[in-house]
Amino acid sequence: MELISGLPEDVARDCLIRVSYQQFPTVASVCKLWKSEIHAPEFRRQRRSTKHAQKLIAMVQARVELGTGSTKRLTNPVYRLSVFEPETGNWSEIPPPPEFYSGLPMFCQLVSVGYDLVVLGGLDPNSWEASNSVFVYNFLSAKWRRGADMPGGPRTFFACASDSEETVFVAGGHDNEKNALRSALAYDVTSDLWVMLPDMEAERDECKGVFCRGRFVAVGGYPTETQGRFVKSAEAFDPATRSWSEVKEDFLDCATCPRTFVDGGDDEGVFLCSGGDLMALRGDTWQMMATLPGEIRNVAYVGAFDGTLVLIGSSGYGEVHVSFAFDVKSCCWRKLESPEGFRGHVQTGCVLEI
């Protein structure tokens, strides 16, 4: 049985890998052969190696009432999942699972693993109760499923990052008594299993997690005793040795919220927005790369693709959110267009390449 009759396998595969991600569910519904083809790891690998994989930014964004032009409102905004394709400028929305009829939880975390988008934790928008829930949206099937809850007590404002292949790492955050946590967990998306990891050295509330160079790095945050006083240190977890590195003091050069910390990829290094500037870590020193455009002075999310950063922010509280692309090599800013319905406040986001 041929994938496409009359075509050799590799040529037929060449056609299928060019299909847009929005048609994945259709392709997977044609027949057993096509379904197994699209699910095979080889498919994704070839899509990426032939540069047919599409870059997406998924974000937790407030729904905007059309026509108002701003997101200032008296009632609590309802958050849903927006998807932005920086290469085509296309914006779309992913319908939430029925459990989130009031919108996605406040301050939930978003990570991507393969074709899955994982939404973790957050506070219920109506009751403000912390939840350890895990919901997974799969782009191959365009369906939601519920994953196993994060074990342990309620945890919010934790660091969260994925190795993009199988595992989601979680560290720090705080419990219901606002105690900063040092515990860490790992979640295997395919088997839907959580495992405890060794504790971090430091308590880290509101820390940022990134996965770079094979290690899960927990950056910044603050301990229980000194609320809001962000530290500059970071520590890295190596999955191979199942252990945390020594704490690196002065990893950041200033004590600031590490929310905009992002790994630009192996070639580019890491970045952070601080004091109206975009900073890059070159070797051991932080350097100012560029000033942030006024329209995104309050940065909500920074995503990185090879050589390009996408920053989403607003000029101030309650203002519309816009996106800019920053080319690392040329240090040039380029504003990205967004339709009126997609200018609401962005809580968090994550990049995908599928």
């Binding site: 049985m1 496409i4 009759s5 009359g6 075509l7 050799p8 040529v11 060449d14 056609c15 299928l16 060019r18 299909v19 847009s20 048609q23 569910p25 259709t26 392709v27 997977a28 519904s29 044609v30 027949c31 057993k32 052969l33 096509w34 379904k35 992913i94 319908p95 699972p97 029925p98 459990e99 009829y101 219920d124 939840s131 829930s133 997974v136 099937s141 365009a142 369906k143 939601w144 499923r145 519920r146 994953g147 196993a148 809850d149 839907d192």
Partner: protein, 359 residues
């Protein structure tokens, strides 16, 4: 003079390559055009073939004369260095306008001649064709078997509030609820919820299935539903929504089973119900979009659609019932029973606890 003679001779010395297709026919092609194909180029350089009719290059069997003609047209245009990128793009767009079968043949032929730019062009065109079709249409176009089970076939999420079938179900519930309310008004202050519940289930069933309460349907389908029933009963942490992708649930596609059931339950109960719920359940609640609109029962649907919807409602009810075997048993015995509470464990799978009260 010598130069003039040469000038006269020159046009006749234009080089040609001789190509033979699998059907035996041979054609001569301008050298620069033919050499644009890597496979032909290789043959000429390595074997020296193609310089005369007797020593024509044998092309791969995937290249028939018609495809060769097309490919040569492509080469003839693109091998000219003078064209701009825009001109090339315009040519390409016009060039690939052909039916899907021909496009496949062309892709195959171009691939055998190692003409990568043309393979890219045709692959892209085929991808666009695939993108524009439903799974059924794709199967037809590419002669693929329909060998996936209904559960394996996936339907992407749609905007659920626009689905007319959900609207009909809501209207149905609204109608039932209205009837229950009216019945309640006729009763005394003391509300007896159990008997009322019993009647409403029966009522609904008979409304849907006819006087036998739908038992024949349930018996008939139980064999088929066993597999699905067992799946649902297992502690499945993931993919609760995939369990609902059989054809009966298409209309309620994105909703997990607990959602259906709770919805259905509420429709049957009187408003003063003490429906026990576990702590986990508040997360599963009613979307305001599903507010039952009392009195809005007018079906502005055409009869054919209505018939189809009636059938689907039947299916839906049947499916619900097939998961409550004890309950059905009780129904058939005509005994009293109480509506069952539904609980959801933290893994998201549902368990239906059946309980009944014998009076």
């Amino acid at each position: 003079m010598f130069d003039a003679a040469m000038a006269v001779v020159k046009p006749e010395m234009k080089s040609y390559i001789w190509l033979q297709t699998v059907d035996g026919s041979i054609q001569q092609v301008e050298e620069e055009v033919a050499m644009f194909c890597p496979m032909i180029c290789q043959e000429v350089l390595q074997t020296g073939l193609g310089s005369s009719k007797t020593y024509a290059i044998s092309l791969p069997q995937r290249v028939n004369p018609a495809m060769l003609g097309l490919i040569l047209d492509y080469c003839r245009f693109h091998q000219v260095p003078g064209h701009s990128n825009k001109e090339r793009k315009t040519f390409d767009e016009k060039f690939i306008r052909m039916d899907t079968k021909k496009l496949c043949e062309l892709t195959s032929a171009a691939d055998s001649l190692q003409l990568k730019p043309l393979v890219d062009l045709t692959s892209r065109a085929l991808a666009r064709i695939i993108e524009g079709k439903t799974p059924e249409e794709i199967r037809e176009t590419f002669h693929l078997p329909d060998d996936l089970t209904e559960e394996e076939k996936l339907e992407p999420l749609r905007n659920i509030t626009d689905d007319p079938r959900i609207r009909l179900l809501n209207r149905l519930y609204a109608r039932k609820r209205k009837e229950l309310k009216e019945r309640k008004k006729l009763k005394d202050v003391e509300v007896e919820e159990e008997p009322k519940d019993e009647r409403s289930v029966e009522d609904l069933l008979s409304f849907i299935n006819g006087a036998d309460g739908g038992m024949s349907y349930i018996k008939g389908t139980r064999a088929n539903k066993n597999k699905k029933k067992n799946r649902r009963r297992k502690d499945h942490a993931k993919d609760i929504s995939s369990e609902n992708t059989n054809e009966n649930d298409k209309e309620l596609n994105p909703l997990p089973s607990a959602y259906h059931d709770v919805n259905f339950d509420n429709a049957l109960e009187a408003s003063a119900s003490k429906h026990s719920r576990t702590q986990n359940l508040p997360a599963i609640n009613f979307s305001p979009k599903f507010e039952f609109i009392d009195g809005d029962v007018d079906d502005d649907l055409d009869p054919a659609m209505k018939e189809e919807l009636d059938r689907e409602v039947e299916d839906f009810a049947r499916r619900l019932n097939s998961d409550w075997p004890e309950r059905m048993q009780i129904l058939s015995l005509g005994q009293d029973r109480r509506l069952v509470p539904i609980s959801m464990n933290s893994n998201g799978s549902t368990h239906l606890y059946t309980g009944f009260d014998q009076r």
